[in-house]
């Protein structure tokens, strides 16, 4: 297929679903985790799970950048935003993530100069336009957005901007996957690998999953046929006794990733000893901070921040959702106290969050129907 419409063709989708049905063993329950929030969104947008046999369960992983940001980190951002002379910038989704005493939107309403940007380059532009202000960019996301932040910092350095800094909350995808595989809560049979992260890191970083844990992983694109084909490829591996990393998304993902992106990230960032993830706790070497060479552009060095760990609200079960232990509709506050308009947990904020995907596409409190 060559045109994007063909990747959404219902007949082709049903044909792949038929192949999936022919590969499943009756009586065996299969649990596959889609790592990336973009996949979760596509699965519910297109009703992909309705095409799967009842014994194939999709579990939603920790690959939504906004969902994994802990409350304490939001509080740190708000603390910087309230300081005199600061223009605080962040992506739109991040504005609504609740901290312990409100979100960045609430802080903006209270008078802080907080601006939504589409890219760190927009924040850099704001810094050039406001030389008498300190402009801070709240950088979040996995290896898909980290190169953009890295390039922006290099530009800031080249252009000699002194009023720009980054509060770096970038995370990496491999450590949480290892943490999930070590978790006794979860038994998974395979992974749908993240498509866009893999354009940067390539397929090699996932080889430990089949090698050390005996689980197949198939990197997949985001169209309905991509996801269905990835599921079929995982099942085919299980059926034939194979276990390896395969790349369904070859039209975009090179096996070795984007070497230039990896190079610029290695120059600008360094791994933190540990970083807190919402719901998953502290995970070693899973977060990025600015390297010593860029420390003068590090907002955490330039500003005083509380840096306090804040527990999630008791009613919120984002942690269990992010670990795939419960489905969103099993959370006590899903769709009642917690909605996309008034989110309590991060998974309800971003369109890539599992709770928002369930809510927006009508998956309220119901089991899947048997095909």
């Amino acid at each position: 297929v060559r045109f994007v419409d063909e990747f959404r063709d219902a007949e082709l989708g049903r044909a792949v679903a038929g192949q999936i049905l022919s590969l499943v063993e009756p009586g065996r329950h299969y649990k596959f985790m889609e790592v990336c929030g973009g996949h979760t969104h596509s699965i519910y947008k297109y009703g992909i799970d309705d095409l799967l046999p009842a014994n194939v369960e999709l579990v939603h992983g920790p690959g939504c950048p906004v969902c994994v940001i802990p409350m304490g980190r939001v509080d740190d951002g708000i603390s910087i935003a309230h300081q005199d002379g600061v223009i605080f910038t962040c992506f739109g989704d991040m504005m609504r993530v609740p901290g312990s005493e409100g979100s960045l939107v609430d802080a903006k309403a209270a008078g802080a100069d907080i601006r939504m940007v589409y890219s760190p380059l927009d924040a850099l532009r704001i810094a050039k336009q406001n030389p008498d202000h300190e402009v801070v960019f709240f950088a979040i996301g996995f290896e898909t957005t980290a190169p953009s932040t890295a390039l922006t910092l290099k530009r800031a350095r080249t252009e000699g901007l002194r009023n720009f800094s980054v509060m770096c909350s970038h995370v990496t995808i491999v450590p949480p996957l290892r943490a999930l595989l070590e978790s006794p809560d979860l038994r998974l049979d395979g992974f749908i690998g993240p498509g866009h992260v893999s354009t940067v890191v390539g397929a090699r970083p996932f080889e430990f999953i089949p090698a050390d844990y005996g689980r197949p992983l198939v990197i997949a694109g985001f169209e309905p046929l991509d996801i269905l084909q990835a599921i079929e490829m995982i099942l085919r591996q299980l059926d034939s006794g194979r276990c390896q990393v395969e790349n369904q998304y070859k039209r975009v993902v090179p096996y070795e990733g984007n070497l230039r992106a990896l190079e610029v990230m290695a120059e600008v960032f360094t791994l933190r000893p540990h970083f807190e993830w919402r719901g998953l706790g502290f995970i070693s070497h899973s977060g990025l901070k600015l390297s010593d060479a860029y420390a003068d552009l590090d907002a955490e060095v330039r500003f005083s921040i509380p840096g306090v760990r804040v527990a999630d609200p008791k009613a919120c079960q984002c942690g269990e959702v992010l670990k795939g232990v419960i489905k969103p509709w099993e959370c006590k506050v899903f769709g009642t106290a917690c909605t996309p308009e008034r989110p309590i947990g991060t998974c309800m904020v971003s369109s890539e969050g599992a709770c928002a995907a369930y809510y927006n596409f009508g998956r309220f409190a119901r089991e899947r129907e048997v095909v």
């Binding site: 890219s119 996301g141 898909t144 190169p147 992106a261």
Partner: protein
């Protein structure tokens, strides 16, 4: 996004999204690029070529 125009000196490209919106995109990580090429863009930076799917 589809590349409309390239500024090689500044490593930027003017690109069009599928909804018609235009955006300036950093292309340092995927250069060289040419008009009509499709790019995968995250946070204003192109991170991959789209492999010809239209």
């Amino acid at each position: 996004m589809t590349v409309l125009r390239v500024d090689e000196g500044r490593e930027l490209a003017l690109c069009a999204a599928d909804d018609g919106r235009h955006e300036t995109v950093e292309i340092a990580l995927v250069a060289p690029v040419r008009p009509t090429e499709r790019l995968l863009v995250h946070a204003g930076t192109a991170i991959a070529h789209q492999g010809g799917v239209l």
